[in-house]
Amino acid sequence: MRVRIWGCRGSVPTPGPQTVRCGGNTSCIEISLDDGTVFVLDAGTGIRELGNQLAENGVKHVHLMLTHLHLDHLEGLRFFAPLFDPESTIDLWGPRSPVVTLKERIRRSFSPPLFPIDLMDTPGRVNFHELPKTQWRIGEARLIASLIVHPGPTVGYRIEADGSSVAYIPDHEPALTGDFARRSRDWISGGSIAEDVDLLLHDAQYFEEEYDGRLGWGHSSVDSAMAYADAVGARRVVLFHHDPTHSDETMERLEAEARSLGSNTHDPPIVAREGMVLELPSR
């Protein structure tokens, strides 16, 4: 299994000289399996370049898994090449809502007056799937989606395939559930997706001192992210959803901060960088 980061910025794209190393594109990662299955997680602006790459490689079928519909996880969809290719099929998965279907919720920002083209008029084939309540399989992969703490219906994903596992929880504020580090794992938000996972990509938008003024905004401090990684027994952590005000230098300080916290993960934590490729060996 191979994980490639196409966008790891939180909230809003941040192009410019201050962010060239970590990148300015919003959330999007690609997970490709040995059998050729491609999962795309989230459709932030990073998905635009990914779409071009898929077209170049002749990939005609992808599974697009949305964690939630905040714009920084959706805004790139309008520029995703497979949508405009009549020979492409996208299986699009996302959280359920009590009132409006997934398709209609996505269409709100993918139709006039917010966008000149209506999602329904794009030539690529899109199959909408509201997420199953229990684990399910796509080819060789076993998937779990679970609601997690973030404003509005939001899920994290776990994908197990090729003998390893990845959990993707880009927007998450488990600190709102109290002292989660002292709870049993079944009482931890997203516990079933992150438990003992080989690779955890997790929200670490703030330094601890920044978090104080942003309680309830749906994101984690680096301290909270590392406490979470320890609580769920993650083996390796990639810190994700970088704050738009954080330059590359600031992100280096955040990475050093994460490493100074003395977690139990097997490898030292790293901050996500656009273009980063993580190979997961079969265990």
């Binding site: 997690i148 703490v149 559930t177």
Partner: protein, 131 residues
Amino acid sequence: MATARSKHLVLILARELASNLATPTLIADAEGTLVFFNDAAEEIVGRGFSEIGEMPMDEFSASFTPRTRNHAPLADERRPTRIALEERRAAHEQLWVLSRDGVDRQVAITAFPLFAEADEFVGIVGIFWRE
């Protein structure tokens, strides 16, 4: 591979709310298992949740020998927690309960179901009001 079956997020959030309430509050999951009650409920229960742990809600309720206002046994199907679990609707009842500390108390219980996403029943909340 993942083994633990996590509590539904709504139950996790309900527990955090209950933990901060001064009103005695309990939570049961969709299968009818008592999964939490808060410190405020300790006085009525007579013990802390950590001493009791998870148990079937029916067994927990029965241990209080719930009785009507006239001290007649309360039929199982009139227990608000049972109604919320089985009929998935809100229920309220005034009754007498005998706590584990041996004290007879007059309380009212309000229980209501919790639904998540579109239609998923995830459990119930029961709140005790001291009469």
